[in-house]
């Protein structure tokens, strides 16, 4: 039997984050679920006033909101913090609004930075920090350049935090997953039907979290793709160029 853990998940109101929350709930863990929606719109027993922390991660003070919630709940140690919330934009670079660039930078990069900084005292000793990246960080992404760049920055942040060794950190890169994300960012939803479900991907993510790899890619095809994107840059660039 695994002992009960305290697990914090950001972006836990949809997609992969919600699927992760369900898995940890079945394990009997103490959940802290962070999202931007109001509690009354979330009709699911997962979310209660003791588990759900409302914080808009695109805002400057988001880490304060989370810490206030932890204090109110008298939680002073976290075993696992999964920074999963993410957003994007799909379309021509010149058409992307300033607000969209700001939001992606804030949610995908600033928020993990702010939360990591704020949560360090809670994660001391046995705690683990997980950053949810994306295999797109290893590719040129002409239609979602800012998103991929934010994920590459996150990957590098994790790598260097690991070397600094003040915190136990892991970076997990999922590949394409069937969630609401694509619709939210303005991408064609047809293609996403073939992607694996959020539940399946979340299951694999929890396996990776139970393991010890610093960087884990979900699925062997994705691991290969990521390897090619990083180490055969020229070939991959040429392939993307012609499609």
């Amino acid at each position: 039997m695994q002992s009960k853990k305290t697990v914090l998940i950001t972006g836990a109101t949809d997609g992969i984050g919600r699927a992760l929350a369900k898995i940890y709930r079945t394990r009997g863990d103490r959940l802290i679920l962070v999202g931007r929606r109001t509690l009354d719109t979330l009709n699911n027993p997962l979310y209660t006033k003791n588990t759900y922390c409302r914080a808009d991660l695109s805002q400057d003070k988001c880490a304060d909101r989370v810490c206030e919630f932890l204090n109110a709940q008298k939680i002073d140690a976290i075993d696992l913090a999964i920074q999963n919330a993410g957003t994007g934009y799909f379309g021509p670079i010149a058409e992307q609004s300033a607000e969209s660039i700001r939001e992606i930078t804030a949610v995908n990069l600033m928020a993990p930075l702010r939360l990591t900084h704020a949560l360090m005292p809670y994660l001391q000793a046995n705690g683990k920090l997980v950053l949810i990246g994306s295999i797109t960080h290893a590719f040129p992404c002409p239609d979602y350049a800012v998103y991929a760049a934010s994920k590459e920055a996150l990957n590098t942040l994790g790598r260097n935090l690991k070397i600094e060794n003040d915190i136990n950190v892991q970076i997990i890169h999922p590949g394409a997953t069937r969630t609401g994300l694509h619709r939210k960012i303005g991408m064609d939803n047809e293609k996403t039907k073939k992607f694996p479900s959020a539940e399946k991907v979340a299951q694999k993510i929890t396996q990776a979290i139970d393991g010890r790899r610093l960087v884990a890619t979900i699925g062997w095809q994705n691991a290969w793709a990521r390897f090619l994107g990083r180490y055969c840059e020229g070939i991959v660039n040429a392939m993307v160029r012609t499609t």
């Binding site: 700001r102 600033m110 960080h137 800012v146 760049a149 996150l154 260097n160 660039n237």
Partner: protein, 248 residues
């Protein structure tokens, strides 16, 4: 007369770039927040400067109309950059947020807005100054390293997105360069003479633009470290920990 826009052009690498491109006959527009430094470069080169702080949206909002009303841009160099050195937990979060704002957010904002306003000329080059840390890692400057890798990723995507419009994109990964920036942020400055002079780096960048290269790691030693870091990360990470992190 061709037109080059260089951010952070009052000092260091940006100033050397301003000189190098002016020498090749470019009209220079600099962006910087140091009024006195900008005035000096202005006198030397008859450059035009926009004084603004790229850490803030208001700063970016000051720069954009000036550039959009100006001449079409043939070379745009995102050079302004700041660092914050120390263990991640020791550096206050506001400082780290500023590093992201200047190094990562501002270049993307400027690029998107200038493209939208059609200010980037046909055949132009957009240059991003990343850092060798992209290959070697940089413990003791985790946020800085994150922004520089993020910038390299953005440039890689941009390069493909803009190829049909005949706009060239180049990423530069400089190693240690003899500037005030390097002096401020290094544990020791005893071997400062080993750092590449900014004038030499500027020349590499100028040549890279002429040859329309996509990636450059200037200097043979830096190239060797980049290769080691790329193909054998643990080795470079170990070295960076010894040389930088443990000396902080």
């Amino acid at each position: 007369m061709k037109h080059a826009v260089i951010t952070g052009a009052a000092h260091g690498i940006g100033k050397a770039l301003a000189h190098r491109f002016a020498q090749a006959g470019y009209a220079i527009t600099g962006v910087d927040m140091d009024t006195a430094g900008a005035a000096r470069v202005d006198r030397e080169l008859d450059a035009r400067f926009v004084i603004a702080d790229l850490r803030s949206d208001t700063g970016i909002a000051r720069v954009l109309p000036k550039l959009i009303q100006g001449k079409p841009i043939d070379v745009l160099i995102h050079n302004a950059g700041i660092n914050a050195v120390g263990r991640f937990s020791d550096i206050n979060i506001e400082t780290q947020e500023q590093v992201i704002a200047v190094n990562f957010y501002a270049p993307m904002r400027l690029t998107a807005a200038l493209l939208k306003a059609d200010r980037i000329a046909n055949g132009a080059s957009i240059v991003f100054i990343s850092s060798l840390s992209h290959y070697t890692s940089y413990p003791g400057a985790a946020t800085y390293a994150a922004t520089k890798s993020g910038l390299a990723s953005y440039a890689r995507s941009l390069s493909i997105a803009l190829a049909p419009q005949n706009i060239h994109v180049m990423t530069v990964f400089p190693g240690p360069t003899r500037t005030a920036h390097a002096r401020r942020h290094s544990p020791q400055n005893t071997r400062e003479e080993k750092r590449m002079p900014p004038e030499k780096l500027a020349h590499h960048i100028f040549r890279g633009v002429q040859k329309k290269k996509h990636l450059i790691v200037p200097g043979a030693t830096n190239r060797m470290f980049a290769l080691l870091g790329k193909w054998c990360p643990p080795l470079m990470e170990y070295a960076m920990r010894k040389v930088i992190l443990e000396k902080l």
